[in-house]
Structure formats: C-alpha cells, structure tokens
C-alpha cells in the first residue's frame, strides 16, 4: 500500500443549473461523472485525496427552496439543503424546538467551517462520524429528494447503506431534511468524544433523546444514535427496546448502555482502537442517558 505523498485537487468543471429539473437532468446525463455539492467541505477534501474524481461538480445551493429554514407549528422543521450550520445554530425556532440539533451542529469543527458545512451535506456524505446525523435520526428525519421524475420522501433511518453509500441514485438531489414535531416533553443530549476538546472528528458520538410515553411499560421512550462505531450511523434498537420495557433506574441505564456497546462494530484505526471505542460507547451512552433522564424526571 502506498499513500499519495503530494495530493492535489484534480481539474473539474463547475456547473450551476438554474432549476432543480435542469440539475437532475444534468446529473442523470453524466452518471458517475457528475456530483451535486453544497458547502464542499467534504467533497473537496475527498477529491484532493484522490478518493473521488468527478468531472463535473453541480452546485445545488441556489436551487428552489434549498435556502429555506422553515418551522411550522403543526408540521415541524424543514431545513433546506443549503442552510449552513451556523444558521441552524442561530435559528430561534431550532433553539426552541430542536436544541439537540443546534448542539450537534455546534460540535462540528469550527465556526469558520460551519459557515460552509451543511446538515444535508453531512447526511449525504454518509460518514459514520457525521455529528449531526444522530440528531436527525432520533427526531425521525425524512429527506426530501428531487429526482428526474419528481419528488420523493425517504426516512433517514433507511438512507444509509455503508460508509459513503446511500440510497441516492444518479440525478437525485436532496433538497431538504424534514424533522417532524419533537415529541412532547422531550430532552436530548449529544456527547462527542474527540481526541481533543474542540474540532476533532468524532471518535465516538452518542445522541440521546427521551420523552414521556404512557403507552410504554417504562412510561418513557429513549432514542439513541451512535456515531463512528459502525459502517453507518447506528441506532442500537436493543437498547431502546430495553428501556421501553424496564423501569428507568441507574442499573437499567447501565444495562442499556451495555446493549448499545454490544450493538457496535467499531474499527481499529489511527484515531482510536476498536476496544477503546466500544468502551467509550458504553460510558458515554450511560452518561448521555443519565443526563437525559435527569432532565425528564
């Protein structure tokens, strides 16, 4: 194995369509050669490192509705694909109804980077380390996708197929992520462990959301999503089910955290060993669930 000692950004053509239809049409015409992009904070790094070599980059930032951040009291939040993370963080509606999403965005890199990086880009990049994906998952996010034949909606939970792999087909453009209204009385937390306090990619990320649910034996529903511990952002359903059925106590929280850790299949890499990551899932899940429980009690 060798590593390119001197990578450079290859030549490409920049394309800026006027309409979604035009964009989808162009992307379909050049499958494998053309890619949509938003902030470019992932795509340019991957191109420079020689991981992908598209001939056309299709800028979808100016297209219909992609710049809207809209909250409807009956329907929830629709976050346009091109809305950068700093806008998400600054939004009063996000702060009021989805503080967990703002918290997750704040954990991404630096202010400078967040003026470009988008939540939808984070999702479409489909890195298991994506910090904002967990929040979108636990709020049951739904993607709005424009395709050549019109629009479709796709639950985020079914979107990820592997690292960098999604259900998107050539010509598909995600125009927004929609988050339904948050469950009544919910509380959430995002715990990110990097090798330093700020700006590192997640070694492990734990998103937890909880809310009262009288239909369940425990009286509460807990949602969990784990970053960087499996080929895709992971929802450890065993842990969720367990907490739905057991009274919530420090012991059951610990057991749920254990189930979460058992659900992961992290890898060894330079940034952290599998053993360490798994242990951190256990510790941080317990911590996240306890913090959420404290807020709910």
């Amino acid at each position: 194995m060798t590593i390119n000692t001197h990578p450079t950004l290859p030549e490409f053509e920049y394309v800026r369509p006027e309409t979604l239809a035009e964009a989808s049409e162009f992307l379909t015409r050049y499958p494998g050669e053309a890619r949509p992009f938003l902030g470019g904070t992932d795509i340019f790094v991957r191109m420079r490192d020689g991981l992908i070599t598209p001939n056309f980059l299709v800028d979808v930032k100016k297209l219909d509705g992609t710049n809207d951040l809209r909250f409807e009291p009956q329907a929830g939040l629709t976050l346009g694909a091109a809305v950068n993370m700093n806008r998400v963080i600054a939004s009063r509606e996000v702060q009021a109804h989805y503080p967990l999403l703002a918290e997750a965005c704040r954990s991404v890199a630096s202010y400078q980077l967040r003026t470009r990086a988008t939540v939808v880009g984070n999702i479409c990049n489909a890195s298991p380390a994506g910090d904002t994906i967990g929040a979108c998952l636990v709020f049951n996010g739904v993607l709005h996708i424009h395709e050549v034949n019109g629009l479709r909606q796709e639950p985020l939970a079914e979107f990820f197929l592997g690292p960098g792999k999604t259900t998107l087909k050539p010509g598909d453009i995600v125009t927004a992520i929609h988050l339904p209204l948050p469950p009544k009385g919910c509380a959430g937390v995002y715990l990110k462990l990097g090798r330093n306090k700020l700006s590192d990619l997640s070694l492990v990320g734990v998103t937890a959301l909880g809310h009262p649910d009288p239909s369940l034996p425990s009286g509460y529903r807990f949602r969990l999503a784990l970053a960087s511990v499996a080929p895709v952002p992971l929802v450890p359903t065993q842990a969720e089910t367990y907490l739905a059925n057991q009274p919530i106590t420090p012991e059951t929280i610990r057991e749920a955290a254990h189930l979460a850790a058992e659900a992961c299949a992290p890898i060894d890499d330079l940034r952290g060993s599998a053993r360490y990551r798994k242990e951190m899932v256990r510790n941080l899940s317990a911590k996240a669930l306890s913090e959420v429980w404290e807020k709910l009690k």
Partner: protein
Amino acid sequence: MTKKFIGKRVKRNEDPRLLTGQALFVDDVEIPGMLHAAFLRSDYAHARLLSIDVSAARQRPGVVAVFTAEDMGEDWQPGPPLVSPPPTAKDVIFHSRRQVPLVKDKVRHAGEAIAVVIAESRYIAEDAVEDILVELEPLEAVSDLEKSLQEGSTLVHDDLESNLAAHLIQKKGDYEAAREKADLVITRRIVTDRGAAAAMENRGIVAHWDEKSQHLTVWDTTQAPIPIRNGLAARLGLSANQVRVIAPFVGGGFGPKMMMFYPEEMLIPWASMKLSRPIKWIEDRRENFYATTQERGQNHDVELALSRDGHILGLKDVFLHDTGAYDPYGLTIPLNTQCHLMGPYDIENFTSEVSVVFTNKTLVTPVRGAGRPQGIFIIERLLDIAAKELGIDQVEIRKRNLIPPEAFPYEHKIIDQAFAPLVLDSGNYWPVMKKALDMIGYDQFVKEEQPRLRAEGKYVGIGITPFIESTGVGPYEGARVTVEASGKVFVATGVGTQGQGHFTTFAQIVAEQLGVAVSDVRIVTGDTTEFHWGTGTFASRGAVVAGNAIHASASIVRQKVLKLACKILETPEEELELECGLVRVADTPHKSISLGELALLANPLRGAVEPGTEPGLEATAYFGPQYGATAFGTHAMIIEIDPETMMIAIKRYITVEDCGTVLNPLILEGQIHGGVSMGIGNAYYEKLHFDENGQLLNASFADYLIPSATEMPRIEVGHVETTSPLNELGTKGVGEAGTIPVPALFSQAIENALYNRELEILETPLSPNRLFELLVNEEKSR
C-alpha cells in the same frame, strides 16, 4: 548596577507589523516574471528508480522546465554535512550519508523528491507533475529500529554492511562496580516516538538569479541564512558576494528549518540560474509531513543503580536512535540525549552506548528539545520508579540527588554535542525546585486537597519534574551597531528570526548601553547583505550568543560616544551619562548633546579625522562562548483524569526557570508558553504513525493532532536568576526549556492520579486511547 532596560517587560517592537499583516514572509515575495515549482515525490518509502519519462510534462503549455537527477549532470551532489563528523576515536563509528537533491537510483523515504517542474504557475506545475511517468520497483522497507539492525535486514544504503549509521560509547566512572554495591537496580525498556515540529509556516524559497548583475538573491525560511549563503555560493560556483540570502519573518522554526541543505533549498536557486528567471516554491502541509525533518524515535534499555536511601550510584543506558534515511546532522541529537540522561543529578558512574540507525523514514534532525526531552524522560521515569520501590517521596529522592551549588562548574567527564567536554557552568538547583513546589502548593495539595478529592471519587494527580537544558552553544555570532544621524540606532546581526522577539530583546541590550528608547533601535536579522558572519538560530542560543555579541558592539559604541562627547562637552567621561538619546553631564543635565548630532560630528565632511580613530559611531564585535551555558528549571502540574475517557484536564501548570539574566520577562514567558504547548503535544497528542512499509499514515492535521487553545492551561511562570559566568550579560538560553520536561511530567502526574492502578508508563507520546490500552493491559496482568 541597576538596569534600565534589561529585565523589563517591554512590549514587542515587531508586533505592530506582524499583527497588521505588514511583515514580509517568503510567500509575500512577488517578482515580475516569477516561475513556480512543484515536486514529484515518491509514494514508496523504499524503491529502485527504474525509469522516468518527463516528455509529456515538458510539453504541457506553461511548463518551462522539468529537471531530474540525470538533468543535473555534474551538479548533482549530496548535500554538504551540516555538522562536522565526530573526531575519529576509539568506540566511534560514523557513516555519513547525506540527502540528495533528486533521487538518482533509489528512493529512501516516502516523499523524497524525484523530479521538479518549473512552470508559469503553481497550478500548471502541479498538473505537469501528474504527467511524469515514473517506474519504481518497490523494495522492502525498514521502519522499525530494532528490525533495521537485524541480520539480513534490507539496507537503506546498499554500500554499507548494515543499517548502523553510527555507534558511540561514553563512560564516566565505573558503572559495573557501582552496580555491585547497589541496594536496588532498576532495569527497564523505555521508548520514545516521533513527532513533527508542525510550524505554522511551511518551508518556502524564492530564488532570483539576475543575469545582468550576475547576482543571486534568495528568500528562504531558513534558521541559518549565512551558512546557506556560503553553501550556495560554494555549490553554484559563485563568490559569496554574489549571493544574498534573506530569511525574512518566518512562521516558526523549531529546528527543522536549521536543517541544511534541504534538496529544494539547493534546487530552486540552481534552477533559477539555469533558467535566468526568478522561481518560487512554497511547501504545502502534506509535503511538510513527508519532507521536513522530524524527531524523537529512540529505544532505551536502561539501568539505574541506587542505594537504599535513594542516592543514585550509577546509570547505564544502551539505546537506538532513529536518524531516518540520511544523517546530515551527525550525532547532535543522540549526544544531547546522553548529556541530559543524568539530568540535574550528581551521578558519578555512567555508561551510555548509542547505535544510530538508518530507516526508510523522513530524516531526523533536531526539533525543539533536540534529544534533551528523551534524556530527561528516561532519568525522571527511573527516579519515579525508584521512589516507589524505595518508599521515598518523589520530591525527596530528587532533592537528595541534585548537584549541589558548590559543585559548579560541574564537569561531567563526557562529551557534548560539540565534542567538547560537558561542563555545567553554573546553577543553584534546589531553590528553583522549591519555588515550583511553593507555587503549586505541593505539601498542601498532597496532604489535604488530594485526599479530599480522591474521597469524592476524583482522579487528580500532581507531577514535579526538574530538568536541565544545555543552551547557547558556540561557535560565535557577531553584530554591528551604528548610531545614525537621526539619533536612532541600527543593529545588524546574522541570526535569523522565527518569532523569538529578537527585535525587542536585542534592542533592550543596545538601549541599556546607549540610553535610547527601545523603539529607537532598529534591528535587522537574517540578511546576509547586512551582516555576513555567523551561524544561526538554534540550540537556544540567539539571546546568549547573538545577544552578547550585540552587547559587546554596543559597549564599544558607548566608549566612542563618551570619548567624542567628552571633548565636545568639555567634561570628563566619568561625569557623563547617556539618557533619553542624549549625552549629558550628570549633575548639569541641560549641558548635553544628542546622539544624532554626535554621529554627524563623528563623520565630518571637512577637516581631518584624528589618526588612530575611525569615522562614525559604529562598531562590530563578536562573541563566542567557551562552552554552552546550562539552564535549569522545574515544571509542576496538577491534572484530573476522566476515568471513563482518559481525557486529561490540566488544573494548574507551573514553570520556574533559571536561565540566568532575564532580558525581558514578557518574551521569556512567551517562549515558555509556546514550549509548553509543544511539550503537551509531545506528551499527549502528537505522534507520527509509520507502518512497517515506512508509510506515514497520518500526514494531515485532521489525523495528526496538535494541541489547540482548548488544550492549553493557564501557565504560571516563576523566575530565579543564577547568572552564567560564561558571558557578560549572564544569560542562558530558554528556547527549548518549555518543551523538555513535559512528557516526563505527564507520565508522573498520570501515575499519581491513577493511584489505585499498578500503572508504569514507559513510553511517550501517549494519548487518551493509548492510556486506556495501557490500563487494559495492566488489568490483564494482575
């Protein structure tokens, strides 16, 4: 005599320019018609170069030239040795193998340059690099230190019998006899690994050969502009006067920019002469990770022999030192390690054997600390282990072994990095350590706070690590000081500046002699046209060696000023004083003359200059210390470890420095802060991961983590001044002091925090993940 300028917290003269973006860096140099260079580098760490075809690259529009080793003809030569080889003596082996400008037959490390493209823009040059067809036959690479010395290992240099680059044994007293008498002998293997200097500014060069004036100007991020000028002139067949090297503002040196000659440093000027065009090359971050030198890989097998009461009877250390693919920097680093293995302690019996090994990795040359942190890490780890085994307090065992003040100058009877006998010039160690203990409240913490916090379930630990730092080595520096007709003073010296605050400390030294405002002293460093004698900024020597040369020149100018003023003011010299830019009669201050007027009178247009005098108020002087001055310091720290993640929070960080006369506490503290941040990186964040194929796996700041503001504690700095007898100012260096003890300190504090575990840390750098792994292993072995 009380000082008016030296020792004062003067704000930096250079900061307004730096902070408003007005300071010139190499990449700011723009010359009409300038071309740009990009390099083809090897992706393999070890490979035979079978063929190279640059024809397509040459045809790309905008490409002006492509050079390979072949194209250089006779001009292709390995770089000159940077330091002289060790004297031939018994027990000394040294094989000098220097880096080459471009690979000719064999690639020896990933990132080694194979060809250079010169084009109208960097974009074109980079694209043309991709056009080059190169055929490399990959060879097995040697990466691991021990494996590289094993029988049958692949050879980095085919003409040598093994990968042994150098071998040296140093002895003092009789270790074996001491061992016989010992009550306790501690035997351990301790390993230190590589990091990058990671200066904010990468390397860069602009070379401009002007055919008409037959003159070469080179802007270079070097720490040593004068040797670069001399070397370039020699290699390019020019007179030294035809070459001007300018090291403008440089965004961090830290040692790797003292390496000479980098292949690019020779090639860019050479190509500029070939093409008669100015050429710029700015290193990118990835190239910096592969092609800029690194440091710290050593494996030590050590033994410490002690008596029951904790006195060190002897130390034995057999170690391997990784020099990477070439060894232009000779034995500087391993010798520094040997000179710091005994730390600040009085050790009579010492044996150290070093084997320097070639590996297929980036070259190793000094990085801030330069072998010293390894030596200190070894002795301090051993003392911590000894303290535990003997049941003696960590501070007490150190106190018992410190060199006593009456023992200075302390002769160590081994040789230092300059192959001269190692002598510690001066010191009074215990008061410094004591001050650090007081500042951190050691007793109170250990007796009251720590037990209370432990009872709350917290993992808090304290560390206290003394260290020495050899500084201010020769051979010499020089300076010219001139009082100008404006009344301002101009100073030129040869060392380069990479952020050390020279424009201020040097100005303070001059102001002290000439009584002018610090802001009225203009300093030029690192421009061979302004001053062309000297060596460079390295080994914590700028303030000591250049500082004293400036002091010497300024003192001579002061004499000239007084002599002339005494005539004009008709007052004896003893009754004159230099204040506020004037020479005045001490008890009748209105009787005065300004320095500017005196400068004019000293350089008259008519009349006769007296025989035996020189025009102007100017002097050039040099300073070369007999040997290096040794500074001392102690760092202390309180940490809290999150037992779930192994993340460390530094609660307090104390340093107490004794670097002799303090020129400017503000600048000194800046040096310490920067040094400590590098040390924290070395200790807990930064590690270069090479795999067994010599591939660097984390060559980017996304993967190679340097500490940022969030990892930096507030650092409290204390000072003690034991002046050095080796120079008039009494100064010692401090540039590397912040970095040296930090890995040792971290290990001590971590073990102290995890009091209920049998943890013994025998390696650096660590990380939260690595600490976790060590604890898992410890649990298994229980």
